[in-house]
């Protein structure tokens, strides 16, 4: 090959690089390792993490069972090692599965249209807010303090230089959004109000009432869903204008925080303001149904500095995991799964002292003298307790957030309940 190019050695390939630019040393990275050594290294690291512990952590990342079929599908090289489906003729597999994903996201959320997925739930929130700003030509955004605290931080980072003033709405004594505070802050320049349901405390928000208030003022309601399993059972946020959220619960392993799959869905009339990739139905030259990426004129590679967002990719493989999950569980299974979550959480909650009395799904806030002490004691029994809330809510100093899913065992819940009794 070198001879064909007319070079003597591979080093000649970089001979034209200016000498003051070339790196002439050796990279300070150890020599290459064999496959066996690599596997061993990561096994050893994994052993330094929590192993064999039961966990009561939720807070935006949930332990749900991953059906075996999911990895069987996403391990196929045809899905795993393909690029974004720009060449429709040889990408119908990915395109069709994304079309099914978009459809299922609509069915779940009660929206008309959904995109091919976002990076994750947290970054979908500012994308939803920016979309509302574009639609309403207003600039202020209100976000409930009961939205995931890290999602709120991300929103702050995104909006800080875009001329989008942010304000937070407090929560009432029962843990739901404070409607009076909302009414007070809901002025004529508000583009979007962002609420999460079930909210960060696990409680259902009063989406219908909030939507009526928000829309009467000409603002858009953006509803965040961080625990998608809830949608198997609870009334979807049909009254929202935009729904954003996280599908980690659908067969995406917690993986220390990512990668996950975010969603954004909306009403038909706002389709041209939705950011990111969209797959649409069309026909091929023989008149058969086919799919392709569509409405690209919204996107950065065409519109450059006028694009709806700088987002360039979706999370196709994670969206496929979620699609397989939704298919395997299906209409009946997703409901039964949600019912099991509800039952487990209510079993445990029934034995504890709850901070809030609004209806909850599979998470709830518990009052406790010292969250740290009780977690330390549970850890001795190989149980990771709940999330102490003072880190995000200083006023909830003696509170922790506990989660139970279909994977939570009754005996572990009894152990937790006993520990709280004897605190």
């Amino acid at each position: 090959m070198l001879a064909t190019i007319g070079l003597k050695s591979e080093e000649d390939l970089i001979s034209y690089l200016p000498s003051d630019v070339r790196f002439s040393k050796k990279l300070g990275i150890e020599d290459g390792k064999s496959e066996y050594e690599i596997v061993d290294y990561f096994k050893a690291l994994a052993a330094r993490n929590a192993n064999g512990c039961a966990s009561f952590l939720g807070a935006g990342v949930y332990h749900h069972y991953r059906p075996v079929l999911v990895d069987a599908v996403v391990s196929r090289g045809e899905f795993l090692t393909s690029y974004t489906p720009y060449q429709a003729e040889i990408s119908q597999g990915t395109l069709t599965s994304i079309f099914e994903f978009q459809t299922m996201v609509c069915q779940l959320t009660g929206m008309d249209v959904a995109n091919a997925s976002m990076y994750d739930g947290s970054s979908a929130v500012p994308e939803g807010a920016m979309m509302a700003v574009r639609i309403t030509h207003r600039d202020r955004v209100l976000i409930a303090r009961t939205v995931h605290p890290e999602y709120r931080e991300v929103l702050r980072t995104y909006t800080q230089h875009q001329g989008i003033p942010l304000d937070e709405i407090g929560y009432a004594k029962n843990g739901q959004l404070d409607l009076d505070d909302l009414k007070k802050k809901l002025s004529d320049d508000v583009a979007a109000v962002i609420v999460q349901t079930p909210n960060f405390f696990g409680l259902l928000e009063q989406v219908k009432e909030i939507a009526a208030l928000v829309q009467a003022k000409g603002a858009l309601l953006v509803v965040v869903v961080a625990e998608a399993v809830a949608l198997g059972l609870i009334e979807p946020p049909r009254d929202a204008d935009i729904v954003v959220g996280e599908l980690q619960s659908f067969a995406i392993s917690p993986s220390y925080g990512g990668p996950y799959a975010g969603i954004i869905a909306t009403k038909e009339k706002y389709i041209r303001q939705i950011p990111g990739r969209l797959v649409g139905e069309t026909t091929d030259a023989e008149g058969k149904r086919a799919f392709c990426l569509t409405l690209a004129t919204r996107e950065q590679h065409i519109r450059r500095d006028k694009a709806t967002s700088n987002i360039c990719t979706n999370q196709a493989l994670l969206a496929l995991m979620a699609t397989v999950f939704m298919t395997v569980y299906g209409k009946q299974g997703l409901r039964e799964l949600a019912e099991q979550n509800l039952a487990k959480a209510h079993y445990l909650a029934g034995k504890l002292d709850l901070q809030f009395d609004a209806p909850f799904f599979n998470e709830f806030v518990v009052r406790v003298n010292s969250p740290e002490k009780i977690n330390a004691r549970l850890l001795e029994k190989k149980i990771i307790g709940g999330l102490p809330l003072d880190r995000f809510y200083p006023e909830l100093k003696n509170c922790m957030l506990l989660c139970a899913t279909e994977m939570t065992r009754r005996e572990d819940m009894d152990t937790v309940a006993a520990a709280f009794k004897t605190q």
């Binding site: 150890e30 290459g32 990342v61 795993l80 040889i90 459809t103 950065q300």
Partner: protein, 498 residues
């Protein structure tokens, strides 16, 4: 002659919704070990949905068949050369998939106590160290989820630094050869965009740049090697021009695959850059994600990195949230951790020498293709190619055949097309990046196909213009898709629910 593929049976398949039958399911849940709860009582009647209308109802095996059939309609790097320029479609080692699924890593919860997450934190620390060494930069954040997300993070940091120095300034300079994400990112951080022309060799026109740089300029966003696969030979001078006026240099590292081990951006004056771990570091593209857009910064930008940051306390890692100058979070938790595991495994498998060798091999493959194709296609710029070579369709356009047509014909020969019509500065661009993981045999097959198509253009241009001819799906009508968007399935009105 088409050597790489021949006809074979491909299954047709309905959408899931069209093959659903009421009452079918593919799941099993264990019996509930606690008393059931009446949802209407627990949540309120109005809060409970009746059903998820039209949601799939298929068996487990039907589900598996469905997705397996769909998979056979895809092309993939596992099936052959995928020469998308700028996308770096290289082999995705399967050991990376295995280690990312290691139980203690894959099931680690982001809020589990730090003492019980040391393994995960070590992965992050080790990868940060390796990327610092590879880029020659002072620090790395692994929080951004993708390249564009990394750009956003980098430009936010530049803005924060300039604000601290007295003013954010007004605009970002972007060469006309840049990816579309660059200008889109600048807008999201509140900057206006000014385009900088390329010169006749496809490089940034230094004189035009010198005129454009003034006290209003916050930064230049430069891709190096640039999108025509050419190293910006004046990069030191370019960085100097910006720095003289108190502006910064952002490097889009999409093409870092050409530099690893042979040149370090931190050494040649770059202040902040992103790396696409899904390109240079071999993590799978997965049909369009997940990616990871690690960002590396010079010392001066360190205080502005997104938080939390890792901190060593004794022999333990801790997350440090006390970062008064940080731009804030760009994503919940700590980034696409599963992607980071794969990238670290790639770095470990290669080692320092192996990474450099991969770069040389990528350059060799691109230059080999360039030599084979140059007699048949017009090279866009007469400058040395690095990891990719860019041609224009000028010669073929005279016969009425455009780059998009040649790309579609390439599909008939069993290859994924190259990147079409990008960069925008090249008229009818064919942007070809073979990567280091292709063998001479596969490259020769590809060159044969390209040469054969060039002949077809001369002899039978219509054959090329109407391609592909052999795919399961012939050309797709993208215009109608955009005019009347249908982005979800709906039950046809005529068919009542059975």
């Amino acid at each position: 002659m088409i050597k790489k593929v021949s006809k074979h049976i491909v299954q047709n398949e309905l959408l899931l919704f069209e093959q659903s039958s009421p009452g079918k399911w593919g799941y099993q849940l264990p019996p509930l070990d606690v008393p059931p709860v009446d949802a209407a009582k627990a949540l309120g009647k109005d809060n409970v949905r009746s059903e998820i209308e039209d949601f799939p109802e298929v068996s487990e095996f039907e589900a598996l068949r469905h997705f397996t059939r769909l998979s056979t309609w895809n092309y993939a790097i596992d099936l052959g050369l995928y020469p998308l320029g700028s996308c770096t479609m290289k082999y995705n080692p399967r050991v990376n998939e295995l280690v990312a699924r290691t139980e203690g890593l894959a099931w680690a919860h982001p809020y589990q106590p730090e003492a019980l997450a040391q393994g995960c934190m070590e992965v992050i620390a080790a990868l940060e160290r390796a990327l610092e060494e590879i880029t020659g930069m002072a620090a790395v954040t692994l929080q951004p989820a993708a390249g564009a997300h990394g750009e956003f993070t980098g430009i936010l940091m530049i803005r924060a630094l300039l604000e601290e120095r007295g003013g954010a300034r007004k605009k970002i300079l972007v060469p006309d050869s840049a990816h579309g994400t660059n200008p889109a990112t600048a807008t999201m951080v509140g900057y206006s965009v000014e385009n900088i022309k390329s010169n006749s060799r496809g490089m940034v026109d230094v004189e035009a740049l010198a005129k454009a740089v003034n006290e209003d300029v916050a930064a230049l966003m430069i891709t190096n090697p640039n999108t025509v696969g050419v190293f910006e030979e004046n990069i030191r001078k370019i960085c100097g021009l910006l720095h003289e006026k108190g502006a910064l240099v952002y490097m889009d590292g999409a093409n870092m695959n050409a530099l690893v081990g042979v040149a370090r951006p931190g050494d040649f004056g770059v202040d902040v850059m992103h790396l696409n771990l899904h390109k240079t570091f071999s993590t799978p593209h997965g049909g369009g994600g997940p990616g990871s857009g690690a960002v590396a910064v010079a010392e001066v930008l360190k205080p502005f990195l997104p938080g939390p940051r890792l901190k060593r306390a004794g022999n333990q890692w801790q997350w440090n949230y006390d970062l008064p100058h940080s731009i804030g979070r760009v994503r919940a938790f700590y980034g696409n951790f599963g992607v980071l595991v794969r990238a670290l495994a790639y770095v470990m498998a290669h080692g320092g020498n192996g990474l450099r060798q991969a770069t040389l091999d990528a350059l060799l493959n691109a230059n080999y293709l360039r030599i084979l194709l140059e007699p048949h296609y017009d090279i866009a710029y007469n400058a040395p190619s690095m990891h990719e070579c860019v041609f224009s369709d000028d010669r073929q356009a005279k016969k009425g055949v455009r780059t998009g047509d040649i790309a579609k014909r390439l599909i008939d020969y069993g290859f994924h097309p190259y990147t079409v019509s990008f960069p925008l500065i090249v008229h009818g661009a064919l942007m070809i990046e073979p990567t280091e993981t292709e063998s001479k045999q596969e490259l020769d097959l590809f060159a044969d196909a390209m040469i054969s198509i060039a002949k077809e253009v001369e002899e039978n241009p219509d054959l090329v213009r109407k391609a592909p001819h052999l795919t399961r799906t012939p050309r797709v009508d993208e215009v109608t898709a955009a005019r009347k968007p249908i982005v979800r399935w709906k039950r046809p009105a005529a068919a009542p629910q059975s």
